[in-house]
Amino acid sequence: MISLRGVAKSYGGRQVVGPLDLDIARGAFVAILGGSGCGKTTTLKMINGLIRPDAGEVSIEGWPLGEAPWRRRRRIGYVFQEIGLFPHLSVAENIAVGPRLAGWDRERILARSAELLELVALSPDVAERMPAALSGGQRQRVGLARALASGPEIMLMDEPFGALDPIVREALGQDYRTLHERLGLTTVMVTHDVTEALLLADQVVVMDAGRIVAVDDPGVLLADHPEPAVRALMETPRRQARRLEALITGRAARG
């Protein structure tokens, strides 16, 4: 569904990304994983044209990014770490931005906004509040609801749960995973959190220094991977898993 062919980007003569090729199938949940500065966010932004590639081509269902990229962006949900809620608009108005751009009528927008608040597990009385009056978790949920509002088929997410505390983060991640399946979305999520990538995605793209070093299922990555960069990344979750395993079995043995 989404296809990147020979896509590359450089800033000030320094190649930051690529050239890289990537295919993402309809309905997939793909995580792009890597450390800071590996080019994962740049890659994500090149998918909806927020960043123009210097070389190569990005196409969605065979259509290349045209001269008016905003047309395509309206059909792609976009969530990013800073959230970027419009501070001058209430929660309901923030959610209505996409539908308004798509030219929906008032009733449909109102109904949609109520539906979305429920979908992201926010109480209806949040609708009239301003973003400044929300907690971090609530803001992130509103950001998600806003991205989903006009019914996109594709969701691009840049560290969507990054700013949250671990418990909220886990819960919101799982909630989103459920939504992804229920709505039949194609999701591309950028993260530097290995565990998050492994637990949420069907497929993980590992990036290092602007290049893709592996594209595999979480299980394959966790097994002894031939790529040293992948092995290094997987070391922490494996150690944590062994430790947890030991704690659980030890307790079971004692009990």
Partner: protein, 512 residues
């Protein structure tokens, strides 16, 4: 009620209406130019610095000078337009005031506009782009609403500046609340000065409060505040300018320079026209070079000038053939040069003359300019602001070899005070001034006839030189005012107590 207060109230609807109209147009035009410029400048640093620099530079020009500079520019453009399209446009009054104030109003709007737009959180802008807003939608739905409170704060500052600076428009012939201040300063009518200041301050503060209401409405998203503020501002502008539309355009415009005698004589001419049912407006506080050009260009219809002034400044003559010859020379010279009609002399002279306190002059043994030349190196000369730049001063200087220790310029009123206080020893007095007698001054004789005669004459613009109503109304004034009568009238306006308004003084001069 005090006569002066009553007189001030009577002209308030006209002054306030003109002031509000000018300020509102300048601010509106300023907004119309600065906002798009601010948007362009916030997008493009290559425009940002030059735009802010130029706007800042304009701000450093004294507003009075900015107003004054637009007159010659517009006059040149008008002359060009007349040559090209067959008709020009008024270079005096509303047009130069509007242009100067528009420029003056731009900086705060531009500066706050740029600051407001570039300070919008980049994350919010990225979200707008990511959601598929076009650049225009992003501007209108995100950037401008978020920058609106900051922009509005700039508009407030700009409004207060513009309303304040509009008082100076009086000096280029645009009626404003400044007329109270300029005229009050000249005639020592402090009631008038205070009245003008208070009116301008109240106007500025009210507008500031209303715009503040809009600003807080924008910042806190209270639509009723925005609407209340905007409606009140719009209603205020309509209400204040209503008298202007109701009155219609005056049939005649009478000019006046910036001293008491001129106020009185312009009132007198307006009263004569009023008596025959023709409405006349007075444009006062015009500079002496400006006023003649305004008449020649037909922007005013009539005013009183002085033969020596015209002889030296307009015709550029340095000789002095005597009173009658100067008058006939002027009549033909002005008609030939500009088509201006010299209707005739009023019957008195208001000469530039060097004067001293009589007792001081006697103590120093000075009776003539020849005597003065010997004493001048120890003395201070006080003059009005334009005298040192006039050809008359140059001819006096060269004829007598005058070298003063110091030369200080004053508003005419303060020049007399300076002489009284001893800050000046000699002043460039006006011979028809009532204060010469009242303050016991002595006019120094001019045996070499370096100063030309200064007969007060009525001048008529080329366009009106055959206007029967105007000529019939003003003709009776020719030869009807002698020096004593003029001096009495001037003193009635200038004296410290029991003052008359220029209009009241004009009534005492009306020919029976």
């Amino acid at each position: 009620m005090d006569d002066r207060l009553a007189a001030a109230w009577r002209v308030l609807p006209d002054y306030l209406g003109q002031h509000v109209l000018l300020s509102a147009c300048a601010l509106g035009l300023g907004l119309l130019i600065s906002l798009p410029l601010a948007i362009a400048a916030s997008r493009n640093p290559a425009i940002r610095w030059p735009a802010l620099f130029v706007a800042g530079l304009i701000q450093t020009i004294p507003s009075l000078a900015l107003l004054a500079l637009f007159y010659p520019v517009l006059l040149a453009l008008s002359t060009l337009a007349k040559a090209t399209f067959g008709h020009g446009f008024p270079a005096l009054g509303f047009a130069p005031s509007l242009m100067a104030l528009t420029l003056y109003s731009m900086l705060p709007i531009l500066r706050n506009g740029v600051a407001g737009i570039i300070s919008v959180d980049p994350a919010v802008l990225e979200a707008a782009d990511g959601m598929g807003m076009t650049p225009g939608q992003r501007l209108w739905r995100v950037e401008l609403p978020l920058a609106a409170p900051v922009i509005m704060a700039g508009v407030r500052t700009s409004a207060v500046w513009t309303i304040g600076a509009a008082t100076l428009a009086t000096s280029v012939g645009q009626t404003s609340l400044g007329n109270y201040i300029f005229a009050g300063l000249q005639t020592e009518n402090w009631v008038g000065v205070l009245f003008g200041c208070a009116a301008a301050a109240i106007l500025a503060l009210s507008v500031d409060q209303l715009l503040g209401l809009i600003e807080s409405g924008l910042a806190r998203r209270r639509p009723w505040r925005i609407w209340t503020g905007a409606t009140a501002v719009a209603a205020g502008v309509l209400l204040a300018t209503a008298p202007l539309w109701a009155a219609g355009a005056p049939a005649y415009r009478i000019g006046a320079k910036n001293f008491s005698e001129q106020y009185i004589l312009s009132e007198l001419m307006a009263q004569r026209l009023g008596a025959v049912g023709a409405r006349a407006a007075i444009r006062d506080d015009l500079g002496s070079a400006t006023i003649y050009r305004a008449l020649a260009a037909g922007e005013i219809d009539a005013y009183v000038d002085y033969s020596g002034t015209l002889w030296a400044n307009v015709l550029g003559r340095r000789d002095n053939p005597g009173r009658a010859a100067v008058l006939t020379g002027l009549a033909s010279g002005l008609a030939q040069r500009d088509g201006v009609k010299l209707l005739g002399p009023l019957g008195f002279e208001n000469a530039y003359a060097l004067a001293m306190k009589a007792d001081r002059a006697r103590a120093l043994g000075v009776a003539s300019l020849d005597d003065l030349a010997r004493r001048a190196p120890d003395l201070t000369l006080g003059t009005d602001i334009e005298f040192p730049a006039r050809p008359e001063w140059k001819s006096v200087q060269s004829a007598y070899g005058l070298r003063f220790r110091r030369l200080t310029t004053y508003q005419p009123t303060f020049m007399y005070h300076a002489l009284e206080d001893g800050q000046a020893d000699v002043i460039s007095a006006f011979s028809s001034d009532g204060r010469i007698e009242a303050d016991h001054l002595m006019i120094l004789a001019d045996p070499r006839r370096a100063l030309p005669p200064y007969d007060a004459v009525i001048l008529i613009s080329p366009q009106r030189s055959h206007d029967p109503t105007l000529l019939a109304a003003l003709q009776p004034l020719v030869g009807a005012i002698d020096a004593a009568a003029m001096r009495r009238a001037n003193y009635a306006v200038d004296r410290p107590e029991n003052k008359l308004t220029p209009a009241q003084a004009a009534e005492t001069l009306a020919p029976r």
